[in-house]
């Protein structure tokens, strides 16, 4: 035992006790910011300094007691030094910080108030460190960070996750995840310990405000206590779970009830615990076909749905599966599958807020977790859970995905088995670069979740070639060609990819000549198109022209404004030609005296393709947009199109009654459509109808050639 004096009081404590703890035992509270009882003391904030009679003060949290020590914790000299330290920190602090705003408990601001500091006299922060919004669960404000190292010790010492550390030096020092990656891109598993440890608003809970999952009779709130007993929540901070209370519920669904409906918007994912569910697409798989009837007599033509075989369209994919937001895919011929315990579905809707891709109905009584994105994020980053998901995916969907690529159809079951084991599942956060144009190509990718933006650099900017979604693939051109990426691939949202290594890819094309031929054909075609596009861009000096996407179009609808009297005959004609739903709005971009009427204009960045839950909208090689026949009519593309070029075409079909399983009735379904240039007619009806010869269907390259100075 060691005897010492603290503020005049005799104290006897075991050897090895810190002065901080010795004082606390005597009821003397010493202020601190960097010290937490459950973490190794580091003595960096210096607020807990005390006077031991030496030349300089000691940080009491790291200073062991010594026999006969005379400690003064609260002299004017000590308090003044503490006040100055607080004033220094507050000068750089974004008061009120996120924590203060959220829960009013920023420890720095509280100590500042207690010390009577109103306006810090020191200069304000001169070097902004910025914010990081990449994590789904935790908001990072580096400017509110006081480098107390509490988060670092929480991450490494308490949770053994080894993600967080100090970076840089001196005034520019800060905390960083991995190699200074955005938190969401890092190896962080969202355990929440750093956020719980943080004394300021540097790390705060994103607390998905107002989105507590409505707890109906069938939903049961799960307490943090109970969650912590589940293997997937092992290692997660209990306080963090408590803060996210209500973001996960246990839901009971009775046999026959619907869990979620295709086309609906949502924000949750489901994890099946017990029972079976059926996932299906109830929209008929067909194109909207407008029949060219007798002209004039029946003013209104009829639109019907035509199945693929009776209405084959140019460049249509011959996909045999329809990708959905679950661990299985649906067969094109019979879009129904079964989900069971251990299956997760609704990830895309939950992470990226896209519409539901399919309808899920309880086949038996079902018990499931329904969760918001912050909880899903925790699950997805849990090693055990991920391993289970990966296993599920490899077992049930990978083969479909591989076979969904037409030229992979010839792979032997043996090789598929080999790939199932050797492929790697990789995750990317929004905005993260997957491959950069010009860099060496090392892998072939299949998209599992999310959207990947494929773009190319041109003089004057970037051109988006495609948004790839589940079931799509990329990377073959680079591997087959010069070994260099020909396009830049970026994760648009939360993306998961299946990575096939260069070695496996090589082995595959060596072993299966048909696959090689197929891929080479595609690659050659794509390269030729790239070349053609590049030449086009180089020969057209007008960036604006490209940006309007006009040059690339096969044909365009233009209105000569010098002739047009704005009589709207074209609009009416279009409506007449399409069951009363017009696809033409007499508005759009102007070039010289021509108005390029709103018909799909092959945007540089085709936003319509972002978010399609079933991947049924895509670019043709000519860059025009095509809507595949398994569109479920959710309407997202129509909303996304900034030009109003995509319309939803309602029609009545006989389908399964959503309210009475097993029964069928007539219901209204929708299909997305864009201008089809009235391919069913000799001439687009708008052109035909224009009384002033102002509307024309033209090939832009020849039509605008004179305007471009003969180029």
């Amino acid at each position: 035992m060691i005897d010492l004096t603290i503020d005049g009081n005799p104290v006897r404590v075991p050897a090895g006790t810190s002065v901080f703890d010795a004082a606390r035992m005597k009821g003397i509270a010493i202020p601190t910011l960097c010290h937490l009882q459950n973490e190794t003391p580091v003595g960096v904030c210096r607020l807990c300094v005390v006077d031991t009679g030496a030349r300089v003060f000691s940080a009491s949290c790291v200073r062991p007691v010594e026999p006969g020590m005379n400690v003064v914790t609260n002299s004017e000299k000590v308090q003044s030094a503490r006040r100055t330290l607080l004033e220094l920190l507050l000068a750089d602090h974004p008061s009120p910080c996120a924590r203060q705003q959220q829960s009013g408990d920023c420890e720095l601001e509280a100590l500042g108030r207690a010390a009577g500091i109103k306006e810090p006299r020191f200069s304000k922060r001169t070097l902004a460190r910025g914010k990081d919004d990449s994590s789904l669960a935790i908001a990072v404000d580096h400017d509110a960070c006081i480098l107390c190292d509490r988060c670092i010790r929480g991450c490494n010492e308490i949770r053994n996750n080894f993600v967080l550390g100090r970076m840089g030096k001196g005034y520019a020092a800060g905390v960083a995840f991995d190699l200074n990656a955005p938190m969401g891109d890092s190896t962080c598993i969202s355990c929440g310990e750093c956020m719980v440890s943080c004394p300021t608003g540097a790390l705060t809970n994103k607390g998905i405000v107002g989105t507590v999952i409505a707890a109906g009779d069938d939903a049961q709130l799960i307490e943090a206590e109970e969650l912590l007993h589940l293997p997937v929540f092992k290692g997660i901070s209990g306080t963090f779970l408590e803060l996210n209370r209500g973001a996960i519920v246990k839901r009971r669904v009775r046999h026959g009830e619907i869990i979620c409906r295709e086309g609906e918007f949502g924000s949750t994912a489901f994890y099946l615990l017990e029972g079976k569910a059926r996932v299906s697409i109830s929209s008929p798989i067909a194109h909207v076909k407008t029949e060219g009837g007798a002209r004039g007599f029946f003013k209104r033509l009829t639109s019907t749905l035509a199945v693929r075989d009776s209405d084959a369209r140019e460049e249509e994919t011959r996909d045999r599966t329809i990708p959905i937001d679950a661990s299985v895919d649906l067969a094109y011929e019979n879009p129904v599958a079964e989900l069971g315990p251990g299956d997760l579905f609704g990830e895309m809707t939950c992470l990226n807020f896209y519409p539901r891709s399919a309808t899920v109905r309880a086949e038996t009584d079902v018990l499931a977790y329904e969760m918001l994105r912050n909880v899903l994020d925790i699950l997805m980053k849990n090693k055990t859970f991920r391993a289970q998901l990966d296993q599920n995916y490899r077992r049930r969907a990978l083969e479909n995905h591989l076979r969904g690529v037409p030229m992979f159809a010839d792979l032997t079951p043996d090789f598929i088995e080999h790939l199932k084991e050797s492929v790697e599942l990789v995750r990317y956060a929004p905005g993260q670069l997957i491959a950069r144009q010009g860099e060496p190509a090392e892998s072939f990718y299949l998209v599992r979740i999310g959207f990947v933006k494929i773009s190319e650099n041109y003089p004057g900017g970037e051109l988006v070639l495609a948004y790839l979604s589940r079931g799509d693939y990329f990377g073959e051109i680079g591997l087959l060609g010069g070994g260099v990426r020909t396009a830049t691939c970026t994760a648009l949202d939360h993306v998961e990819l299946v990575r096939i290594s260069n070695e496996d890819f090589r082995q595959m094309i060596e072993q299966f000549p048909a696959v090689r031929q197929g891929l080479e054909k595609v690659a050659a075609e794509r390269r030729a198109q790239n070349q053609q596009r590049l030449q086009m861009v180089e020969s057209v000096p007008i960036d604006q022209f490209l940006s309007q996407g006009l040059m690339e179009a096969q044909s365009l609808l233009i209105l000569d404004l010098e002739r047009c009297t704005r009589c709207d005959a074209c609009v009416n004609a279009c409506a007449d030609a399409h069951d009363g739903v017009t696809r033409l709005i007499r508005d759009g971009l102007r070039f010289e005296q021509y108005l390029v009427a709103t018909s799909c204009r092959q945007c540089r960045d085709p936003l319509c393709m972002v978010g399609c839950p079933v991947g049924s909208i895509r670019r043709r090689n000519s860059l025009e947009v095509i809507i595949e026949d398994w569109c479920i009519g959710c309407g997202l593309c129509a909303r996304n199109c900034p030009y109003g070029n995509i319309n939803l075409h309602p029609f009545e079909v006989v389908a399964e009654d959503p309210d009475r399983p097993g029964r069928k009735r007539a219901i209204v379904k929708q299909k997305a459509t864009s201008c089809d240039l009235c391919t069913h007619l000799k001439e687009p009806s708008c052109v035909y109808a224009c009384p002033h010869d102002a509307a024309h269907r033209v090939d832009p390259r020849t039509f605008f050639a004179p305007l471009l100075g003969g180029k």
Binding site: V42, G43, V44, C45, R46, L47, V49, V56, F57, A59, V62, R63, P64, K77, S80, A81, T84, L85, L88, L89, A91, D92, R121, F122, S123, T126, I146, L147, N156, F162, V163, L164, G165, R166, M167, G168, K169, G170, Y171, A172, A173, A176, F177, D178, L179, N180, T187
Partner: protein
Amino acid sequence: MIFDDLRAIQLRCGYLPAAELQALSKGTQTPLYQIHSVASFYPHFQLTEPLRADVRVCADMSCHLNGACELRAALQQRFASAHSGEVALREVSCLGRCDHAPAASINDYIFTDLDPERAEALIRAAIQGAPLHGPHPEQTRTTCASDPYAGAEPYGVVRKLAQTRDWDGVLAELKASELRGMGGAGFPTEMKWSLVRKMPGAEKYVVCNADESEPGTIKDRFILSHLPHLVIEGMIVAGFVTGAKKATIYIRHEYRLQEEILGEEIRRCYRSGILGKKILGSDLDFDLDIFVSPGGYICGEESALLEAMEGKRAEPRNKPPFPGQAGLWQKPTVINNVETFANVPQILARGVEWFKAQGQNGSKGLKFVGVSGHVAHPGVYEVPMGTPMSKVIFGHAGGVRGGRRLKAFAPSGPSSGYLPASMVDVRLDFKALADAGSMLGSGAIVVCDEETCMLDMALNAVRFYRNESCGKCVPCRVGSQKMADLLVKWTQGRISEAEYRADLALLEELSEAMRLTSICGLGQIAPAPVTSVLKHFREEVDAHVLKGQCPSGACHSPAGLTRGAPRVGIRP
């Protein structure tokens, strides 16, 4: 060792690409954050691809006094039109070439006595990828009064001790000699060694701190070049006395030549049985190697140095425990400065009486001092302890350059603060300088002539500490920045008296807090230069702040102020 891995990557790739660091993390089972936290701490490591010419002009005291600002401005102008991908021009902290100022490093090669023409030619060569540096010139060793072996066989002390094994005798002689640490703090050497000797356990270390980085300090560079055998012998004796069997010389990476000289001397020792197992046939073992610092003034702080040797960020430890109790790898460690070790064989070979007689005016021993700044003959001089400063400056160093008058001098770089010319007779001695409100420190005498602006020098010193703060503790990390901000405001001039008074009070509070609460000497001493300038040159500061005038004329003309253009006091 993580630094070796990082160096290997940097050598191969020119910098540290993320993919390489990821592979390193996997290969060595080191978390990514750990790799990044050290790689981003040390200036030697580059996380981004370097430009073709990476030019770093020294910004500290001696170079600052000798046209570093002008050199930087001239280069900036000359390469303003260079492709942005070719030349990176920035400031760097003291390169240890204060006697040949201004100095700059170009692609890691250090060049001295630079003028804009020569620097431009070198940079152009670097852009074209031409080799910048030939092999090191052959160095001839200067004979020093300190060397007991001048011309004769060295290591006599080790030879004798290997026979007599009179460790207590060594400690007694060191105690009698009153030898104190020569790195700055001046801690009695015998006490340090006795502490380590008494510590239990077989695993102990000896470390030589050859990381001299205090602006103006060049004496260790000289000692390493000319008396490496004394340093090594001192370390072996420390090992004998304390029972340590392993030793390391921690040398700054800017001392490549000295690293080679030391390496050669160490190899010679191994060949002749002075180092290694069973030294000179005895049962004594002692191994010695060199650790090259990845950079930063803070590494000279002894506990930060040990952290660096352990492959971590060089952040000073909270003390106690001191290195003597828990040093390298938490084992008892003797850590001394180059000059301290070099003093040991002198004392043991020639006796305490000889050592004491070398000093003057009651001081003991000889001292190496570096003299730089505005002197006619900058360089390293070996002088008796107790020599008046005036004799060093006006005698050895040839007085103030260009026939100008002396205005101020720093007895030991920025840490000692500035003393006015009126105090130039102060003796070179621990106590005398402490009484003068300064310190003997590492003997880095920096001389300022009458045209020097002292507010500018104060700001220069504060910026040095700000740049070199490791960032571990709040007072130093934030305080040094706020202090620099405050001085910048002052140099811009024309502040109301009330605001100035408030600023002075705030500065006093800040200085006090930094002195009392910083973890290590860097933060504790950082306010010293400003405090000394306010003490001895207050009128000059007042003129800047209240009237917008620079009495010495070193700052921009006050006329500039009215046009709102360049400020008084901040040199480009």
